[in-house]
């Protein structure tokens, strides 16, 4: 039997998960020491997230409308152009596209907003002590709220096209959790890196555009030639998007490998993010 790239990634993920469990167990006292700080600042986190939501949704009716209309608008155009030009022959292409789009948008929005979140709060951070991870966390939670709103757009597509809904749709919560952990880890890395190198913001902007095409949002992975497929399969977003499609469109619970890979990427990114952030956070203020 030949090993697929999924098998290899799943095996690595098992190692990562085991390592994480060990790390957590070893660091229980230190993690517990973090808790009072988080408890103290949970009001601040809530205030900041609700302020973001208010600014976007309450102050303009368009805010909510935009969250719903934007994915619909893109879906319409993409469906008209792509599905017809390339004759992809995918059942329910609009649903196929919009599912991928919603997942990708969450990752790109949360990380892009987080990237400048610490720099943007420089005036606050220079004058009072606040645990700095609050700011990327705020942006990730805000993006999560936006994603939930954009699910309204998905629901509209389902209703209009009369697409079949499977009970597995509830597993969307699971993939949202995976993607959220992954995004938070990446957000920690980016928001810290930009403190030292401002052009990280610019480079990441370029990367996000490339990343969108490297993620099978418009096209199914299967149309790529096998060698290319294997490279694209190193992209974590492939698995989050496929997970979402599996529960939304196929009504199939994703297999163990997919779950392991999703968790593996999320935990690895989170751990790298936490370590990098912790080691650099005291120096942020010197670069503001």
């Amino acid at each position: 039997m030949e090993l697929t790239i999924e098998d290899i990634l799943a095996a690595i993920s098992v190692v990562i998960i085991a390592a994480t469990i060990i790390l957590v167990v070893v660091n229980i006292p230190r993690l517990k020491a973090l808790w009072p700080g988080f408890k103290k600042y949970r009001h601040l986190l809530a205030t900041l997230v609700s302020r973001d939501i208010k600014v976007k949704y309450r102050r303009s009716v368009l805010g909510l409308l935009w969250s719903v209309l934007q994915p619909l608008f893109f879906m319409l155009i993409i469906t008209l152009v792509f599905a017809n030009v390339f004759k992809l022959g995918i059942r329910d292409y609009p649903v196929f596209y919009i599912t991928g789009f919603v997942v990708f948008s969450f990752v790109s929005e949360s990380t892009t907003l987080s990237l400048n979140s610490i720099l943007g709060n420089a005036s606050l951070i220079k004058k009072v002590y606040i645990p700095k991870y609050i700011f990327p966390l705020q942006k990730c939670l805000f993006a999560l709220v936006n994603m939930v709103f954009s699910l309204i757009a998905v629901a509209i597509v389902y209703i209009i096209l009369q697409v079949q809904v499977y009970p597995t749709v509830f597993l969307l919560v699971v993939v949202m959790a995976y993607a959220a952990v992954f995004s938070f880890g990446l957000s920690l890395i980016l928001s810290a890196a930009v403190m030292f190198f401002r052009d990280v913001a610019h480079l990441y902007g370029i990367w996000v555009t490339a990343w969108m095409y490297l993620t099978p949002i418009l096209y199914p992975l299967s149309i790529l030639p096998e060698p290319v497929q294997n490279i694209v399969k190193l992209n974590p977003l492939v698995y989050y998007v496929e997970y979402a499609r599996s529960v939304m469109i196929d009504g199939v619970i994703p297999d163990l490998n997919t779950n392991l890979i999703c968790i593996g990427f999320a935990l690895l990114t989170l751990i790298i993010g936490l370590v990098f952030f912790k080691r650099t956070q005291d120096r942020f203020i010197l670069h503001m």
Binding site: K40, Y41, H43, L44, A46, T47, L48, R51, L124, I125, K126, K127, V128, Y129, I130, F196, F197, R198, D199, V200, L203, D282, R283, I285, L286, H287
Partner: protein, 244 residues
Amino acid sequence: MNMIEVENVTMRFNMSREKVDSLKEYFIRFMKRQLYFEEFTALENISLTVKQGDIIGIVGLNGSGKSTLLKIISGILKPTSGSARIHGSISPLIELGSGFDFDLTARENVYLNGAVLGYSKAFMSENYAEIIEFAELSEFQDVAIKNFSSGMIARLGFSIATITKPDILIVDEILSVGDFRFKEKSEKRIHDLMAGGTTVVMVSHDIGQIEKLCNRAIWLNHGKLMLEGDAKTVCAAYQAGATQ
């Protein structure tokens, strides 16, 4: 009981004229081996212990490191070497409008600043009326604070920071921008806090105020601790030393 323990704190800032803050520049300079770092020592080997109920004043000329020391005590800055530990809750009033968003109204800022200090919305609602009353800003509750005078901002900040009895109150010069009436009021409130056991660390260029409020003082000069002792002695030495 020791409320603040500052041990051998040294703070160095990178003062390079051309700061390398992009990857591109970093690589270019790395290849050319042109990564210089010029350091400036803002605080040098400072040790200080503050006991519960102390009202300690910090005096020194502009740029002597007073604000830097307060920021290290408040945890805003981490010292290059040495350590600063505090015991208990702390309300820092560093510079005007610490923890304010200038685009928001006074009302919104009360809640934001409260959250920054770790208070819940419910708690701030309970105390909202008193905060506004003490700051004498009832007519300006819904005005964006970017339209406030510096005295008004200072009043609001002081009023929020002292709404609970913090174990430690840090005050950096902000008392001096209030008018005489507010000065009297805030001094009275500091006395009340003192009576309740709050420890205060304050920076002021108003020597009279330091002598009146503080029981102890330290004198910083070019980041070095020149003298520590009772407020009157230190203030006298500072004035004699600084006018030389």
